[in-house]
């Protein structure tokens, strides 16, 4: 009598654990944005220093001139072109397979000069950028396959650098002109 029995701690009911977990789960599903941001990665040229000498004139044969006007029309080396043709033109320009006199002596000297109007639509601009990038990617892929047997994105770091050195991306963007049209 009077002797206490050892009391066991009553077990915590875990039945509602699932409910709580579900609640949290649903919160995270709703708050989630799965899409990772993606896009065309580029590097802007640094601001010219004030006492910098003006860049040397580039031989005309080494420059591919791409102009886009406020009506989203494309002028490549003085001729009307469609955006879809730009990739082929750029590839031919950079690689210069026929060794033509009016195309660059070597891919390292090739410069694409891009100029757009302030009224050009962003969509067109991105398409042009995309085609230029596609051209360079295609060339680099071909070169990587020729040299190492795999595409550019699967190369090791120093192999990649080698290909990059051979085919550097040189896209110079001039300050946009304000020739009007709309806006």
């Amino acid at each position: 009598m009077g002797k206490k029995k050892e009391r066991s701690v009553p077990p915590i009911n875990a039945g509602s654990m699932a409910d709580i977990a579900f609640l949290l789960l649903i919160f995270f599903i709703v708050a989630t944005t799965m899409d990772t941001d993606s896009g065309i990665l580029t590097k802007l040229p640094p601001m010219p220093e004030e006492d910098q000498e003006p860049p040397p004139d580039i031989n005309d044969r080494n420059v591919l001139e791409v102009l886009v006007n406020a009506q989203d029309q494309l002028l490549v080396e003085g001729e009307w072109k469609d955006v879809t043709e730009l990739r082929e033109i750029t590839i031919e320009f950079i690689t210069n397979p026929g060794g033509r006199e009016d195309l660059p002596e070597s891919p390292t000297k090739a410069v694409v000069s891009l100029q757009n109007d302030r009224g050009t639509s962003y969509n067109t601009y991105i398409q042009v950028q995309n085609e230029l990038k596609a051209a360079y990617n295609q060339i680099r892929d071909e070169e990587s396959r020729r040299m190492f047997g795999v595409v550019f994105s699967e190369l090791e770091k120093d192999q990649r650098r080698e290909v990059q050195k051979k085919y550097p991306i040189k896209v110079s963007e001039a300050e946009p002109k304000d020739l009007g049209g709309e806006n």
């Binding site: 599903i29 944005t33 065309i40 302030r118 639509s121 962003y122 601009y125």
Partner: protein, 158 residues
């Protein structure tokens, strides 16, 4: 007395739900890890253009966003018009506020990470290049040269 005598009146046994919390927790952790909670509510309507040569941005913590597009809701349109606007963080901004924004983004990060900071430009495809060029010019001045033209995977569309 065979050992394998069937029990009479065998009901289908209830499914044991003891492991249900474990399964749910597993899902929960998956979502917690992959989640990036929407941080800024968009006040501009941004439909990014399509492109084929896109790359994924790897380190999300090293990306700062600049949004450009027309005001998204009718109420905002009434006040701010339909011309494309720049949005930094949660508010509309002018081009000349970009340096301050970049500076703040830099201060929020480790000094060693600053050179790897990427600015992702989320720009509506109907925007004119004028405003985009202004932004790019500001970024150049701030020496924030790594940029990303945010775009969706897809073919060219007219």
């Amino acid at each position: 007395m065979s050992k394998f005598k069937q029990k009479k009146g065998g009901k289908t046994p209830g499914i044991n739900t003891a492991s249900l919390p474990d399964i749910v927790f597993m899902l929960l952790f998956f979502f917690m890890v992959t989640t990036t909670i929407r941080d800024a509510s968009l006040k501009v309507k941004v439909v990014t253009p399509n492109a084929t040569e896109i790359q994924k941005l790897e380190k999300k913590s090293l990306v700062s966003y600049i949004y450009v597009g027309p005001p998204s809701t009718p109420a905002l349109k009434e006040v701010f018009g339909t011309e494309p606007r720049i949005q930094l963080n949660d508010t509309y901004a002018n081009v000349n506020e970009i340096p301050e924004f970049i500076e703040k983004e830099r201060q929020a990060r480790d000094e060693a990470e600053v050179p790897f900071l990427t600015t992702s430009l989320k720009i509506d495809k109907d925007t004119k290049m004028g405003i985009v060029s202004d932004i790019k010019q500001e970024l150049r001045k701030m020496n924030a040269l790594k940029i990303n033209y945010s775009s969706k995977k897809g073919g060219l569309k007219k």
